[in-house]
């Protein structure tokens, strides 16, 4: 494997094949972890049981284990990519849907629809959540535009506070309508409720990730500002709208199906950029793979650390993610 230092000299074609080979290798690693995660759990779904054609084992395999792993992979990829897109649009390394109020807005949306129309199907809830997520994110971007100095650390601070304010409104009404407990289920990401028939909407985010992959370059350009974007012949407003939609939809779908997954969108793109630099075309697939791997590992930890009980993945993630985020923050200080 060639090192980064010699790459510029290498012919472009070979470079690309090396890159693809590495991506495929990483994908295989993620696949191995994913397959491994299928065999983690309370009821016995071992390879031998499956080989022996044990009907019960096969049923759990198809109804619970496979959907769960698929959901973990999809959510992990999507949230990480959403974080990356958010970072490109805000031109800031420290923002992601859960630090700029997108997730909190989606949660508020779910609350509103639960109060006004409790019996509405999950798709309706998701649409309302998405609308709220779009509005919340747009509000953040509007505040961002009014900040004259793009202070790297001020932007995430403003985002976190905005999220806090929206969350306070949500808590207030949840308290009034006695929905606090229901609410906390959305606040903490948890895959234990994922069964066949209850996660399929997550496939929507797979489409969104692909969309993000193809449009990634545009978001980089749009992050440079309206004039710059227009000079390059790109429709600024439309590009920002597209990014906003992708990020908000991903957040809303993930929050409604599995709950909030904190720090994922923040940490993974940063690690990818540390390892591979800022080439965006390369960053998107790597971010997706790392995101999937990260959530898979956290989910396995959550399932085994207190066996046979389960710790929600969101909790494991908030601890690991916060530690990694602190590391990223303080690394800058010491540099």
């Amino acid at each position: 494997m060639t090192t980064t230092a010699v790459r510029p000299a290498a012919p472009a074609r070979r470079n690309r094949t090396g890159e693809t080979a590495r991506l495929v290798a990483a994908a295989v690693v993620v696949l191995v972890i994913a397959v491994g995660s299928i065999f983690v759990g309370v009821s016995d779904v071992s390879l031998s049981a499956l080989m022996a054609n044990d009907a019960g084992a096969w049923e759990i395999f198809w109804v619970s284990r496979v959907p769960r792993t698929v959901a973990v992979v999809l959510a992990g990829m999507a949230v990480a990519v959403a974080g990356l897109i958010m970072q490109l649009m805000a031109r800031n390394r420290f923002v992601e849907p859960s630090t700029v109020g997108t997730v909190e807005s989606a949660t508020l949306g779910i609350l509103v629809v639960t109060v006004l129309a409790p019996d509405s199907p999950i798709l309706t809830k998701m649409i309302v959540a998405s609308v709220f997520a779009v509005l919340g994110t747009a509000l953040f971007l509007a505040i961002l535009r009014r900040l004259p100095a793009r202070n790297t650390l001020l932007i995430p601070l403003v985002g976190i506070m905005l999220g806090g304010i929206i969350a306070a409104v949500t808590t207030f009404f949840a308290y009034r309508f006695d929905l606090l407990q229901t609410l906390s289920n959305w606040m903490i990401g948890d895959f234990s409720g994922v069964l066949r028939g209850r996660y399929e909407l997550l496939w929507i985010v797979a489409v969104l990730v692909l969309l993000g992959l193809f449009a990634a370059d545009r978001f980089t350009v749009a992050g440079m500002g309206q004039d710059f974007t227009t000079n390059l012949g790109l429709n600024y407003a439309r590009t920002m709208r597209l990014g906003l939609m992708i990020v908000s939809l991903i957040s809303a779908v993930v929050v409604t199906t599995v709950g909030a997954v904190p720090f994922l969108g923040l940490v993974v793109p940063n690690i990818v950029s540390l390892l591979f630099g800022d080439n965006l075309r390369r960053a998107v697939p790597w971010t997706a793979l790392f995101g999937a791997a990260f959530v898979l590992v956290c989910d396995i930890i959550g399932r085994t650390i207190r066996f046979p009980y389960e710790v929600p993945v969101g909790m494991v993630m908030s601890v690991l993610g916060a530690i990694l985020f602190l590391f990223l923050l303080l690394r800058k200080r010491n540099a």
Binding site: L154, I165, M315, S318, L329
Partner: protein
């Protein structure tokens, strides 16, 4: 004439209001606030007082004393913290002090067992928790505040993330406990003004009084400290020692208020910001009582308003969180726009 224009600027209502406050002597401000606080407490104790008075009155008294203690603890700790860090945005709770306290408590329960913790004498438990908390926060924040680069935004961000980390870690530990133990612990955590442990009140009051005496004696040093590290050192203040002592006082106060009613993130920020608005100077001899009185008025008055006018139960902390969050955002943006 341009000069005439300069000398007679059209004052906005807000500026005039601020001028009016600025020209009021601090002693008068304190007097007015004190009267308001006393009236509110009296109303809180006596409003709708019918039925079994012997049962209702002591309960209200406990509730109101808890609020007053929290007002003192939060107000004083936030003011001290802002003085030491020489800025108007940082507060102990934004820096994660109170989530640290909850983490210490959880960790203690995790190691010793929640049942042991629940049955242990509350004073012993409280003493141990505060000792752990003070030790740890002293270590952590000494490291944070004596670093070479002291960007306010970095500090804030690190504080918020540390708070998240502590909270996440506490809930993780809580999940790792035996489910039966977790249920016992849960009762210990979700405290509010409605179920304050009367046994803790006395201990807290004594501790707060002791801390306040110490702080009051330091008030002139604090005035110097507020001018910044370099000035303070030039004037001959043993900066490092004083800062450590102030941080100790802060940890103690935060621990007390968190033990009494649980975390209230933005309350201190609200109260101290208002205090600076109402106080002409920057002398701690004036600021300390003003901040404490505003805190008392906000808590007792707020609770009164919520309970009696709007008929809500205990959503005061949520409202504080909401208004405090907006104020924080405003301060943050105003600071950066300048």
């Amino acid at each position: 004439m341009p000069e005439a224009l300069l000398t007679a600027p059209r004052l906005s209502a807000r500026t005039r209001w601020r001028e009016a406050i600025r020209s009021t002597p601090p002693g008068l401000v304190i007097g007015i606030l004190a009267i308001a606080a006393v009236v509110l407490v009296a109303v809180f104790l006596t409003i709708d007082l019918k039925g079994n008075i012997a049962y209702i009155l002591p309960r209200r008294a406990i509730k109101v004393s808890a609020m007053l203690l929290v007002a003192v603890a939060v107000g004083v700790s936030t003011l001290l913290f802002q003085t030491v860090t020489a800025n108007r945005i940082l507060t102990p709770s934004i820096m994660g002090f109170d989530s640290l306290y909850i983490l210490v408590q959880t960790a203690l329960a995790f190691v010793a067992g929640a049942a042991t913790l629940a049955t242990a004498p509350s004073t012993l438990k409280f003493g141990l928790e505060i000792l752990l908390m003070v030790g740890f926060s002293a270590f952590l924040y000494r490291w944070m505040f004596t670093g070479a680069t002291r960007s306010l935004h970095l500090l804030l961000l690190v504080g918020i993330v540390l708070g998240t980390l502590f909270r996440g870690f506490s809930s993780l530990l809580q999940r790792l406990m035996e489910p039966s133990e977790f249920i016992i612990l849960q009762d210990l955590f979700f405290a509010s003004f409605n179920n304050v442990d009367p046994g803790l009140l006395g201990v807290s009051a004594v501790l707060i009084a002791l801390v306040c005496v110490g702080v009051w004696r330091m008030r002139h040093t604090l005035d110097v400290l507020a001018l910044g590290r370099e000035v303070a050192i030039n004037v001959g203040v043993d900066h490092k020692r004083v800062v450590m002592r102030v941080l100790l006082a802060c940890s103690l106060l935060v621990a007390i208020s968190t033990a009494l009613v649980g975390p209230v993130t933005f309350f201190g920020l609200l109260v101290v910001s208002l205090g600076y608005q109402l106080c002409r100077g920057f002398r701690h001899a004036w600021l300390l009582p003003i901040v404490v009185l505003i805190g008392a008025i906000a808590l007792v008055g707020g609770q009164l308003l919520l309970e009696r006018v709007f008929g809500f139960a205990t959503a005061l902390s949520v409202i504080i969180e909401f208004t405090g969050g907006i104020l924080f955002l405003y301060l943050l943006l105003k600071g950066s726009l300048k």
